[in-house]
């Protein structure tokens, strides 16, 4: 791990980054580690896509923990605009200033004055660009924002600068590490994709998820966590409205600890199922398919009942 002059950490090799992420509580898959490493080396934004709950946002958080950089987060939603994402003039303060000086100051002076940095409210993007120390910028759920917003992002993502008509161009003094996440609800524009590296995150395989659960809930006995993962994977295999995410497997593991369960049998499963399945119709399907198998002792080494 190489310490940078500004106190942040940058990886020298792929292995180093993978271990660093592990130390930050994130077990990265091969591709996630590689693409993050490339993002570091090339200074390019990463577009992370994948189903909900596979750890897209968590990756950004882990990167910020590992690199000891501040995380600047922009949550996207419909109708998000420049005023909320880039900057906004503080009208009230400007108004007060004008009123305070109204009597003896010329208009030119006031105008100079009220369009200065003092009256600028920094929103996440400008904050990330103008930060003195390098940051991790997370633009979450970019697919929820309007297409026009994407166009606005282009300047930020490719040149790391923001033009403010009254002030001029604000350029980044340090290069932020940018992650964009998307649930793929709509096709993003080619222009945006072209500026990013692409990473597809999917549900981890059983082994990796087991490691993740063990990392977060070390109290859970090995045999039980193994069985828990087996059940979760089976549930994901069904055609559900909302398959359980990694976070929900972890929650479930925690719940089992709290309940003091010693085995995942049918009754335990029936009581705690709602932690991983959150749709009425899904509950029926899961109870029917998985609950029965648990009852028969087919799964893992469950004794019936």
């Amino acid at each position: 791990m190489a310490g940078e002059p500004d106190g942040t950490v940058a990886p020298n090799s792929l292995e180093e980054l993978r271990e660093g992420l592990g130390g930050a509580g994130y077990l990265a898959s091969e591709s996630a580690a590689l693409v993050s490493y490339l993002a570091y080396r090339l200074g390019k934004p990463v577009l992370v896509e994948g189903p909900a709950g596979v750890g897209k946002t968590e990756l950004a958080k882990a990167l910020s923990r590992y690199a000891q950089r501040r995380l600047v987060r922009l949550q996207c939603y419909e109708g998000l605009d420049e005023a909320k994402a880039l900057y906004e003039w503080n009208y009230r303060k400007q108004l007060l200033r004008i009123q305070a000086e109204a009597a003896d100051t010329g208009w030119d002076d006031v105008q100079e004055d009220i369009f200065s940095k003092e009256f600028l409210m920094e929103r996440p993007l400008l904050k990330a660009i103008s930060a003195q120390e390098p940051v991790v910028l997370l633009i979450d759920e970019i697919d929820k924002a309007d297409q026009e917003f994407e166009a606005m992002l282009l300047e930020v993502l490719s040149d790391f600068q923001i033009s403010i008509p009254e002030l001029g161009v604000v350029e980044a003094s340090t290069r932020p590490l940018v992650l964009l996440t998307s649930n793929n609800t709509r096709e993003l524009t080619e222009a945006l994709k072209r500026r990013c590296l692409y990473l597809w995150l999917d549900y981890p395989d059983a082994e990796r998820e087991l490691e993740i659960v063990n990392l977060h809930v070390p109290e859970l006995p090995e045999a039980m966590s193994r069985k828990l993962i087996e059940v979760v994977h089976m549930v994901r295999g069904l055609d559900l409205k909302k398959p359980p995410s990694i976070a929900e497997s972890i929650d479930w593991a925690r719940a089992l600890i709290v309940l003091g369960a010693t085995d995942i049998d049918k009754s335990v499963f029936d009581r705690t199922m709602s932690i991983i399945v959150k749709h009425r119709t899904d509950l029926d399907v899961v109870a029917e398919r998985v609950g029965v198998r648990l009852g028969n002792g087919i799964l893992g080494h469950a004794e019936s009942g």
Binding site: L14, L34, L38, L42, R186
Partner: protein, 479 residues
């Protein structure tokens, strides 16, 4: 990188370049990679993946950062810079094996570096191989498994027992290697049983090796356009992979769910909300600096879908039913009907069942759609539809018909359809046949067309999305 004298994407010219390498021109090697990559990008473009110059530049810059010896890193790096969606990634995977690694193998064979797997094929001790593979699968080492899969394919391929069907060959090799998964009923992992997940991984590797061999033999990509071809063959392929239909529809489902949202917020409407504007102006001492607008409510259409499930549209109806399935999740007020000779409401089945298989099974068993002949009778369907739900139709409702308009020579009763269309606000017809075939034979599309607000040929997901844009997107007629 040094430019090579090889014009890219030109197979005839690429061959001499490889020969040059064979002749021992080490200088050409970096250019060789550049040319190879350019050729790869060209192939990607031909498959419809949008690869821009900036992406190619990125790929080169990124490649300088990773170790080329690691095959997976090399591949992932290229994928991260070139393939920017799931579909693109799929195409990428297929092409990568062909262009990059087959090129390496071709070079190796030209250089005379015979791969020992071809020579050693007969000499490999099968018993030894078996033990090695079992050990590798137990250890779960991907690299080891891949190497052994290659060896296994060579060993069994050398015996000349290829059936020509990859799936069959995979199972044959697996049996010959005596690889057995853990029995489902047994709890504890038995010593001889192997982890099923890992076994499946090994099978996947076998499949890939076989595919590679096939690609090499035929010098062509077996399913050249994995997704594009799927799009094209919807109407004729009854052996369609259902999972694939579902994946595309699931994608569309998500798009549909968010569709129209962009027109929803407060921003686009132009009507000023006076009350909220005044309230906001209090912040600025009564000066209305910021205007507040009234939000625009989206149109909530009531949709009636009539789906033909007769034999003449067998392959398309699988597609249509899965579309219906998806529509049910996207629209709250949706009633669906299935028909052959008669019509029956199937809304309830769709609402209660989640699995697509159960749904199609229940429709076949329970819905009273066929009578005696089992041929479509459009005329009778309209009559029944009018008597059963005619009164529910109002100008806010949208009727969508999914069918080929082939009446089997029976009376089309077009005026009756006209009355349905008249009562409903909008009427659309989706025909699973190409427009070219309409009105040939017993197709009476022309009789119904004048009553519809729109007729669409619809047998690919792309066409379907276009149609969905019309229905859910900007409403053409606002009641």
């Amino acid at each position: 990188m040094a430019s090579s004298d090889t014009p890219r994407a030109d197979k005839d010219a690429a061959a001499p370049a490889r020969k040059g390498l064979y002749g021992g021109l080490p200088k050409a090697e970096p250019g060789g990679l550049a040319a190879q990559l350019m050729r790869f990008c060209d192939e990607l473009r031909k498959e419809g993946v949008q690869v821009g110059t900036s992406e190619i530049l990125d790929a080169f810059i990124a490649l300088a950062e990773v170790s080329w010896a690691e095959r997976e890193d090399f591949r992932e790096t290229l994928a991260a810079t070139l393939a920017k969606s799931q579909e693109d990634r799929h195409v990428f995977e297929v092409l990568f094996d062909r262009v990059c690694f087959n090129a390496v193998e071709a070079q190796a064979s030209e250089k005379g570096l015979k791969d020992e797997r071809f020579e050693g094929g007969e000499r490999i001790d099968i018993e030894d191989l078996k033990a090695q593979i079992q050990a590798a699968i137990r250890a779960g080492s991907d690299g080891e498994m891949a190497d052994l899969a290659r060896l296994a394919v060579a060993a069994f391929g050398a015996q000349g027992e290829s059936s020509g069907v990859i799936g069959v060959d995979v199972q044959r090799i697996r049996r010959a290697l005596e690889l057995r998964g853990q029995a489902a009923q047994q709890g504890e992992s038995t010593p001889e049983g192997l982890d099923r997940e890992r076994l499946r991984r090994f099978e996947r590797m076998l499949r890939r090796e076989l595919e590679r061999a096939l690609i090499q033999r035929t010098e062509s990509l077996p399913p050249a356009r994995p997704l594009a071809e799927f799009d094209r063959t919807l109407p004729s392929g009854p052996l369609q992979d259902l999972a694939q239909v579902h994946r595309v529809v699931a994608q569309m489902k998500r798009r549909l769910a968010t569709h129209g949202h962009e027109a929803r917020g407060r921003k686009r409407s132009q009507v000023v909300d006076v009350r909220r504007t005044m309230r906001a102006s209090l912040e600025t001492g009564g000066v209305p600096l910021r205007l507040r607008h009234r939000p625009k409510r989206p149109r909530r259409p009531e949709i009636y879908v009539l789906c033909d499930v007769s034999t003449s549209v067998t392959s398309a109806s699988v597609f249509f039913l899965s579309v219906l399935h998806a529509l049910h999740d996207a629209f709250r007020k949706l009633r669906s009907f299935a028909f052959v000779e008669r019509i029956d409401e199937v809304t309830e089945i769709f609402e209660r069942e989640r699995s697509f298989r159960t749904i199609s099974g229940r429709i076949a068993r329970e819905a009273g759609v066929s009578d005696v002949s089992g041929y479509t009778d459009y005329g009778r369907v309209w009559l029944e539809f009018l008597t059963r739900v005619g009164d529910d139709l109002d100008p806010r409702s949208t009727v969508i018909v999914l069918g080929d308009a082939r009446t089997n020579g029976r009376e089309p009763h077009a005026p009756m359809f006209g009355r349905v269309a008249e009562r409903a606000g909008r009427t659309f017809w989706l025909n699973p046949e190409p427009r070219l075939y309409w009105n040939y034979g017993d197709s009476v599309m022309a009789a119904y067309e004048p009553y519809c607000d729109g007729v669409f040929e619809c047998w690919t997901t792309k066409q379907l999305e276009q149609f969905v844009n019309v229905v859910a997107g900007r409403p053409a007629v606002t009641p």
